[in-house]
């Protein structure tokens, strides 16, 4: 679906991340892990050309990403950014409907279908009954779920999620990852997720890319990447690795 070939990205022409390559396939979830400032968000911004590439190329469905218009990109790649705060009184429904912008005409009103999709996504994100509530009156966690609902409303096949579980309680963290996993498996979608939660990454990721100082330190399955040595190198913290007795995936406990 998305092929990233040797990209370097940064600000004002000076790269923050260098030589990043990976391929995102249908149904897969890739997680970007790394310390603060390692360039995770910068990579995510480049994947829908919010930030221009300095070097390298990105292919979407075999075509150069630059050859798509902004609206075409928005229909195919969607973003769950870290929650946004608005100074204007915007309702949850209006906010989620923004996800339909690239589908309709750039002018005029949303269709009944847009409204139906928006309402479904609101329901999926456990915000039913919040449609008329104002965004700036919601809690951080509720706003974050509205941000996810807006991204789902685009019906894009590629989801880019930047710390989607920030501010979320345990049940909504699980809900978010289950939703993303479900969408990837049932709707021919794929996702790239930035998270600081190593256990969530271990549970849900098909591939992990571990970043350090703007380059890829290593990548592979959770078992291959989440080793004591790698985690010590990147986070400078010793960890205890064992197996989650239920899911059989790796369980990571930091030793303070």
């Amino acid at each position: 679906m998305l092929e990233v070939k040797n990209i370097s990205v940064g600000y004002n022409g000076s790269p923050v991340v260098r030589n990043i390559s990976f391929t995102l396939e249908k149904g897969k979830i890739i997680t970007l892990l790394g310390a603060n400032g390692s360039g995770k968000t910068t990579i995510l911004k480049a994947l829908n050309l919010s930030l221009p590439l300095i070097e390298g190329e990105i292919l979407l469905e075999g075509r150069l990403l630059q050859s798509f218009t902004r609206r075409e990109i928005a229909r195919k790649i969607t973003v769950v950014a870290q929650e946004t705060e608005t100074k204007f009184p915007v309702t949850v429904l209006e906010f989620v409907l923004a996800g339909r912008f690239a589908h309709g005409s750039a002018f005029g009103w949303e269709t009944q279908q847009d409204l139906q999709i928006a309402r479904e996504c609101i329901k999926l994100c456990d915000l039913e009954g919040y449609e008329e509530r104002l965004m700036n009156r919601l809690s951080g966690g509720e706003r974050q779920r509205a941000v996810l609902a807006r991204a789902l409303a685009t019906q894009a096949k590629i989801l880019l999620l930047d710390e989607p579980t920030n501010n979320l309680d345990l049940s909504h963290q699980a809900l978010t990852f289950r939703l993303v996993k479900n969408r990837c498996q049932k709707c021919d979608s794929a996702a790239i997720v930035i998270t600081h939660d190593l256990n969530l990454a271990s549970e849900f990721a098909d591939e992990i890319i571990l970043l350090s100082g703007g380059t890829v330190l290593t990548k592979g399955t959770p078992h291959e990447v989440l080793t004591q040595e790698n985690l010590q190198k990147v986070f400078n913290v010793r960890v205890l690795l064992d197996e989650n007795p239920i899911s059989r995936n790796l369980r990571i406990t930091a030793i303070y």
């Binding site: 204007f88 915007v90 750039a106 009103w109 949303e110």
Partner: protein
């Protein structure tokens, strides 16, 4: 479709608000025809009264309505674009840029009317881009930075305007000072036609960007992610706003607070959807200026106050109240 979004909320009553706004506008227009420094006998108009009504009063009223609509439209669009409910053509220095442009036309092309709106538009555009560039930083744009940039540009432009006023003789100086504060008394029929056409054109252009502005209002990054061509929308809105403000200021001076207070009140009533906020603000802005100018014409008749003084007297306390409330 007018009430599809947000129909359950007490904040959102678009149809009722629209009806109320139209009734208010019609009422204000009618009242402003009846009131003036000269009491007209409408049952039997003399020739002089006919001239006063058709050549002086009506053009002035309609000019006021178009200026109000233009300023409110520009204010609403700039607020959404800059994600700042405090943005206003007057406070951002856009009006001062237009005033300086008009002033230059006034000094260098005294006998020609047509360079005024053109230079006013250029001045407004230059001020808009300057304030935007000053307010922008690596960390984005915050309310304080934008307000401060507006203040700096406004004071700089005001001092240049004052330097130029020293070139004017005493009679011109008085009328120019009035004009600077926002004055409709020097409006002409040609001025009205020009502002009318610009309000329609500018309004249509801004309305075409309303859906994109709904996303820009949340954040530029969000807008980009969801398919808005941010650079293009920004350019269109800046140029259209500068055009609306430039043409308005060239014929009526810098009338303050319309672009600030009107969209704010409209949002309180119908929410933030620019497809409602823009047209509703235009109607409310027209009503506000017609109302304020009727007071300006009659309160100390036969003398007059500049309409900008009245809008500021009403607008400033109302704004403080709204600011405290929000």
């Amino acid at each position: 479709m007018l009430e599809t979004v947000g129909q359950k909320s007490r904040f959102f009553q678009p149809r009722r608000t629209l009806a109320l706004l139209i009734v208010l506008l019609v009422f204000c227009l009618m009242a402003s025809v009846f009131f003036g420094s000269e009491n007209l006998n409408f049952a039997d108009l003399s020739n002089l009264e006919r001239t006063i009504l058709f050549d002086v009063r009506l053009p002035r009223i309609f000019l006021g309505a178009c200026v109000g609509a233009s300023l409110a439209l520009a204010g609403a669009a700039l607020q959404s674009l800059l994600r700042n409910p405090l943005a206003d053509p007057y406070l951002l220095g856009v009006s001062s840029g237009a005033a300086l442009g008009t002033m230059l036309a006034f000094v260098f092309f005294t006998n020609f009317e047509f360079p005024r709106p053109i230079l006013a538009f250029i001045g407004a555009s230059a001020a808009t881009f300057t304030v935007y560039q000053m307010a922008k930083s690596k960390a984005g744009m915050n309310v304080e930075r934008l307000a401060l940039s507006g203040v700096i540009v406004t004071t700089l432009l005001s001092s240049i305007i004052i330097l130029f006023t020293s070139l004017l003789d005493a009679t011109k100086l008085r009328s120019f000072t009035f004009w600077l504060l926002g004055d409709l008394s020097q409006g002409t029929k040609n001025g009205f036609y020009l502002v009318f056409i610009s309000a329609i054109l500018g309004g249509v252009v801004l309305f075409s960007q309303a859906k994109a502005l709904n996303l820009m209002m949340i954040g530029e990054r969000d807008a980009l992610d969801f398919g808005v061509e941010v650079e293009k929308v920004r350019l269109i809105v800046f140029v259209a706003s500068a055009f609306l403000v430039g043409v308005s200021v060239s014929s009526s001076g810098s009338v303050g607070y319309v672009g600030l207070i009107i969209p704010h009140l409209i949002r309180l009533s119908v929410g933030s959807d620019n497809r409602l906020v823009l047209p509703f603000s235009a109607i409310a802005g027209a009503t506000f200026i017609v109302f304020a100018d009727t007071i300006a014409r009659t309160i100390i008749a036969p003398r007059e106050l500049p309409v900008g003084a009245i809008t500021a007297l009403i607008g400033a306390p109302m704004f403080i109240y709204l600011l405290k409330r929000s």
